[in-house]
Amino acid sequence: MDAKIKFNTKNLDLFYGDFQALKAINMEIREKEVTAFIGPSGCGKSTFLRCLNRMNDLIDSVKINGEIIFDGQDINGNIDVINLRTRVGMVFQKPNPFPMSIYENIAYGPKCQGQKDKTQLDTLVKESLMKAALWDEVKDRLNKSALGLSGGQQQRLCIARTIAMNPEVILMDEPTSALDPIATAKIEDLMSSLKKDFTIIIVTHSMQQAGRISDKTAFFLMGEVIEFNETPIIFTNPNDKRTEDYITGRFG
């Protein structure tokens, strides 16, 4: 249990205009673990996730106080955001492949970083698709539109696209909420195998999912982290009454 700390947030507050969406979040997220964020809708878990790769920059009214230390550097400050996002990838709630071919979807990120070598790109595309357990299904149609894939395949494509950047961390914002149970199971399997290479942080609505795949779980409520601990403890022996109420389905 001496894994390196990847993210360390200190007194992180976040405001949408006047509304405070995150309140004094202090959290240490360890390398090569799966950390799950659970909590009712609107509790701030996705907002917090989006702080970790500065996706909240896209929203004008957002104001952030406090520190987010990523590998020793505060990423709230004046940093190279593009570099951060190549190191901290993200998979979204709704599968969002670009309206281009499967190949181009994967090659997009590396190409944006200036990778032009065709052979290297070919290899990268293949490896990424294999790691995302999608290669066998799409190897004969790499030049077909990604929009022709099923929802589950599209989401695995988005994971492959993220893997192609070889990030250190993969953020997943309810990656299976738009998918059927079979596709969900495939993505969960994938997550456990990806854990070897990547630090994974996942927001999920499903407590069962958090229980199945995560090492650590954080319970969010009204912008605060109520409890953050080993997943088995959260689910069997939570410290806080509110966590217990949520886990046992008394609200949320």
Partner: protein, 293 residues
């Protein structure tokens, strides 16, 4: 019971009223088409002027019974093509700037300016062209004349801006934000995101705007008439040559023409009509393709 019946009747009357209104457009387009085609085809059917000479001739001298419009077709196409070449990139970048880069206040100002541009009567574009662009062209022209293909292109390029900008902007703004987020999350810059994801995704909408812009440019009459020179002969071979687009040919002479001369002006209209119909078909096809995807 009676009340319901009366209500239903009222609904039906109103419905029919709407139908009649809608019919005005259908009847108008039908009437104009039949009228123009009927008059325009007459001289060729009655053999009062050979179709081939009409379409391939490069001189328009009603006094000498010479009615060739080939040089006008070339003029119209070149002017339109030039206007598209200059106007479309400017318009697309404007649309990108408004929807992706400008803050909401600057965006509003630019959008307002573009909308105003759309509302300016075309004769004023012509006056502007005549007063500002033509003298400037005159300065650099080797031909000692300002009215030219170049001046026409400049005026038309400005005139198509509102159409192309507003349609491009709309289609850019409906590109799902998920595409942009996905791109940013992969470490793409704003400019990379715009050029590699947003614009390709908005492509068909932008194309629709471009084609409508072509329609506007090829159909424009008043503004063009003041700056194009309207020569009676000659295929334009340089930007400084004068041109006589199909539209101005009709507008200049229809008022006093009679007989074959008048009929051939209608024929000019038929040619113009065919161009416009092709353009409209292309738009329909694009719009359908967009819905299909």
């Amino acid at each position: 019971m009676q009340a319901i019946k009366r209500k239903k009747q009222k609904e039906r009357i109103i419905e029919n009223f709407f139908l009649i209104c809608a019919f005005v457009a259908v009847v108008s387009v039908f009437a104009i088409t039949v009228f123009v085609f009927y008059n325009g085809i007459k001289p060729f059917v009655s053999n009062s002027y050979p179709l081939w000479d009409f379409l391939t001739g490069v001189e328009w001298r009603p006094g000498s019974n010479m009615y060739g419009i080939f040089y006008m077709i070339v003029g119209s196409v070149l002017a339109t093509f030039g206007a598209i070449l200059i106007g479309v990139p400017v318009a697309i970048f404007t649309a990108v700037y408004i929807s992706e880069l400008a803050g909401s206040r600057i965006g509003k100002v630019i959008r307002f300016a573009v909308e105003l541009l759309a509302g300016i009567p075309s004769v004023l574009y012509g006056v502007f062209g005549l007063g500002i662009i033509v003298p400037y062209v005159l300065k650099i022209s080797p031909n000692a004349q300002g009215e030219s293909l170049l001046a026409t292109i400049m005026v038309l390029a400005i005139m198509i801006l509102p159409t192309v900008v507003s349609i491009s902007e709309t289609s850019i703004s409906v590109v799902p934000k998920e595409y942009r987020e996905g791109s940013y999350a992969l470490g793409a810059s704003k400019i990379q995101t715009i050029f590699k994801v947003v614009l390709p995704a908005a492509r068909s909408g932008i194309m629709t705007g471009v084609i409508l812009g072509i329609g506007r440019a090829i159909g424009e009459t008043m503004a063009v008439m003041l700056v194009c020179g309207n020569p009676i002969a000659g295929i334009p071979t340089s930007l400084f040559d004068q041109i006589r687009p199909l539209t101005t040919n009709i507008a200049l002479e229809m008022g006093y023409a009679s007989g074959v001369h008048q009929e051939l002006l209608y024929s000019t209209g038929v040619v113009l009509f065919i161009f416009i119909m092709i353009i409209n078909l292309a738009v329909n096809k694009l719009v359908k393709a967009k819905v299909g995807s």
